[in-house]
Amino acid sequence: MLLKRIAPQLIALAALVLLVTLVYPGFLDISFNDGRLVGPVVDVLKRGAPVALLAVGMTLVIATRGIDLSVGTTMAICGAVAAWAIASGWGLAPALLLALAAGGIAGLWNGLLVAVVGIQPFVATLILMTMGRGIAQLITEGRILTFNHPGFAFFGSGTILGLPVPAWLWLLTGAGVALLMRRSALGMLIEATGINRRASALAGVNATVLLIAVYVASGLCAALAGIVVTADIRGADANNSGLWLELDAILAVVIGGNSLLGGRFSILAALLGALIIQTIDTGILLAGFPSEYNLVIKAALVLVILVLQSPRIAAEWRIWRKSQRASREALAERSRT
C-alpha cells in the first residue's frame, strides 16, 4: 500500500541516480573518512536539507488546500535572528529558541490571516514574502552577519554517526511529523479540512485551529531550514538566504504526488521529491553542465507534473478510455453475432 503510493517517486529517483551515475561514474561512491561518510550521495542528503525541511511543512499546508509562499523569507528572518543572537553573545540554546520562535510567529501570522481573516493563502503569505527580506535586513542591518561559534556551526557542518547533522535534522523532522500525522487522527483531520473546510467544520473538526497550526508548523520547518543554512555558511545573508527555495519546496511537494488542490498527502513522498530535486541539482553540477540549466529543467518538470495532475486532462483521459472500451466491446459483440 505504502510502497504503491511512493513507487513513482522511487522509480524516478532510481532512474535519476542511474542517469547521473552513467554520466559521472563516481556518484555512488561512499568512503569513510575521519568518522564521517563522504561521497556525492551524502552530499545530496546534506544539501537537500533546506528543501526537505521546507517540504515537510509545505506538504501539510498544501494538504489543507493552501500554499505558503513566505517560507524562503521566513528562513532569512530566522537565520538573521539566530546569527544576531549568536553574534551578541546570547549563547547557543537561546539563539536556537529565538530562531524557532521567529519562525513560529511568522507561521502564526500567516495562519491568522488565512484562517481567521479569511484571505486566500497565496495572497496572505505573499504579504510576508514581500516584507520578510526587509525585516531580515533590519535585523542584520544590511550586512552579512557573520559569527564564529563552533556549537552553532555544528548544525550546518557537524556529523553524528557519520551522517551530516542537516541530514539527521530533516530525516528526524520528517519521520516525527509523519508519525504524528499517521499515528494520530491529525493527518486525517488535515485532509478533511483540505477537501472541504466547511463540511469538516460542520462535522466537528476545529478547522480554524488546525489551519493556524499547519502554518505554524510550516514556519517552524522554515526556521529549522534557516538555522541549517545560516550555520552552514556561518553567517546570515538576508538577501540570498532561502531565495527561490519556496518554489523548490512547492515543487518537491508536487513531485511527491501531493495535489495542489488539497486533500490526501504523503510526507514521505514529498521528502523523496526533495531528494529528486537535489539529485538533479547535484547531478547537473557533477555532469559538468552549467548550473543555468537547472531552472529550465525544473520548469519542464513542473509542466510534466501539471499535465499529470490536471483534473481536466484526467477527465478527458477517462472519457477517451471509456469510449475505447465501448468500441472494443462493440467490436467483440459484432464478432460474436
Binding site: 484571505i119 495572497v123 516584507m131 533590519l138 543555468e292 531552472l295 509542466l303
Partner: protein
C-alpha cells in the same frame, strides 16, 4: 455610493495625503523634477502592472513577469551585440516572443484547469533559465539608437524632464484603461474574474479570454523589459528579481480586488506612483535604509487587502438585508 470604487478613492486619498506629508517635510518634493523622475524611474513597473491588472481582474495571477523582463533585457543586449539588426526589429521580435510565451501559459492554464500561479511559476523558471542560458554576465547595450531614446525628453516647466519612457508608460496606462473599461474583451475579463460559471452563462469565451489575457500580460512584460533595458542601458539575467511581487502589490494598492472581477486600471497607476513615492521619500530622508521600502509596501498591501475584505463583507451583508426586506 458605489462600494466598488471605494478602494480607488482610498488609494487616491492615501497617495495625496502621503504626497502632502512628504511635501511638508521636503518642499522640493512638489517640483516637476521629482515628478518627472517618479514617472521615469517607475516606467517599467507601471507598464508591467498594466498587464498584471488585467490578469488579476480576470481572477488569475502572473508570476513570470519579473523573469520575462530580465529575459527581454538579455535578449535585446545579446542580439544587439552579436548581430547588426536595428533595435526596432529586435523589439518586434522580442514582443512577438513574449506575447507567444504569455499566450502559451494562458493556454496551459485553461487547458489543464490548473491554478494560474503554479503554471506561471513554471514560466518564471523557464524565462529566468532562458535568460541565464543567453548570458550570465551583465551585457552592456551600446547602440546609437539607444542613446537617442535615452536622451529624448520633454522639458517641463520647472526644468523637470519627462523622458520618453515615462510618456510611454502613461500612454500604456491610457491604452489599458480603454481595453479594460471600453472594449468587449475588457468586459469578458471582468466577467471571468467575477465567476467562471456566470461568465460561461453570459456567453464569455473562456479559453479565448484566458489566452488573450496572459498574452497581453506577456506583451506588457516584454515592453517593460524594453523600457528597463533603455533605463539601465544593459541586459542582466539577475535583474528584476521579485518585480512580479512589486507589480502585484501595486495593483492591489491600486484598489483591484485580488480575487478578480473588480478594480480600475487608473488605480494601478496611483499604486505604482505610491510605491515610487515611498522610495523617493526614503531617498530624500537619507537616514532611513532602503529595506524599509519593502516593509512599508508589505504593510500597505495588508491594509488594502483587509480593506477589500471588509468592503466585501459590507456589501454582502447589505445584499442579505436587501433580500430580507423584500
Amino acid at each position: 455610493m458605489n462600494t466598488r470604487a471605494l478602494p480607488l478613492y482610498a488609494t487616491i486619498v492615501i497617495f495625496l495625503l502621503a504626497y502632502a506629508i512628504c511635501w511638508l517635510q521636503f518642499p522640493a518634493m512638489l517640483s516637476t523634477r521629482v515628478i518627472g523622475n517618479l514617472l521615469t524611474d517607475n516606467a517599467y513597473l507601471g507598464i508591467v502592472a498594466v498587464g498584471m491588472t488585467l490578469v488579476i481582474l480576470s481572477g488569475g495571477i502572473d508570476l513570470s513577469v519579473g523573469s520575462v523582463i530580465a529575459f527581454s533585457g538579455v535578449f535585446i543586449a545579446v542580439l544587439l551585440r552579436d548581430s547588426s539588426l536595428h533595435p526596432l526589429v529586435v523589439f518586434a521580435m522580442l514582443l512577438a516572443l513574449t506575447t507567444a510565451f504569455g499566450a502559451a501559459m494562458g493556454f496551459l492554464i485553461h487547458r489543464l484547469a490548473m491554478p494560474a500561479f503554479i503554471v506561471t511559476l513554471a514560466g518564471m523558471f523557464l524565462a529566468r533559465g532562458a535568460a541565464y542560458m543567453l548570458s550570465i554576465d551583465s551585457v552592456p547595450i551600446t547602440h546609437p539608437f539607444y542613446e537617442t531614446i535615452q536622451d529624448a525628453y520633454w522639458l517641463m516647466p520647472g526644468k523637470g524632464r519627462l523622458r520618453l519612457i515615462g510618456i510611454l508608460m502613461l500612454l500604456i496606462v491610457l491604452a489599458g484603461m480603454i481595453i479594460a473599461h471600453k472594449t468587449r474583451f475588457g468586459a469578458s475579463v471582468y466577467a471571468l474574474g467575477g465567476g467562471e460559471a456566470t461568465a460561461r452563462l453570459m456567453g464569455v469565451r473562456q479559453g479565448r479570454t484566458t489566452i488573450l489575457v496572459y498574452a497581453f500580460s506577456g506583451c506588457m512584460a516584454g515592453l517593460s523589459g524594453i523600457v528597463f533595458s533603455i533605463y539601465t542601458g544593459s541586459g542582466y539575467s539577475l535583474a528584476t528579481v521579485g518585480t512580479e511581487l512589486t507589480a502585484i502589490a501595486a495593483v492591489v494598492i491600486g484598489g483591484t480586488l485580488l480575487t478578480g472581477g473588480a478594480g480600475y486600471m487608473f488605480g494601478t497607476l496611483i499604486g505604482v506612483l505610491t510605491m515610487g513615492l515611498i522610495q523617493t521619500y526614503i531617498v530624500f530622508d537619507g537616514t532611513l535604509s532602503s529595506w524599509w521600502t519593502r516593509i512599508v509596501i508589505g504593510i500597505l498591501l495588508l491594509v488594502f487587502i483587509l480593506l477589500q475584505k471588509g468592503l466585501l463583507k459590507l456589501s454582502q451583508s447589505r445584499l442579505i438585508e436587501a433580500a430580507a426586506d423584500r
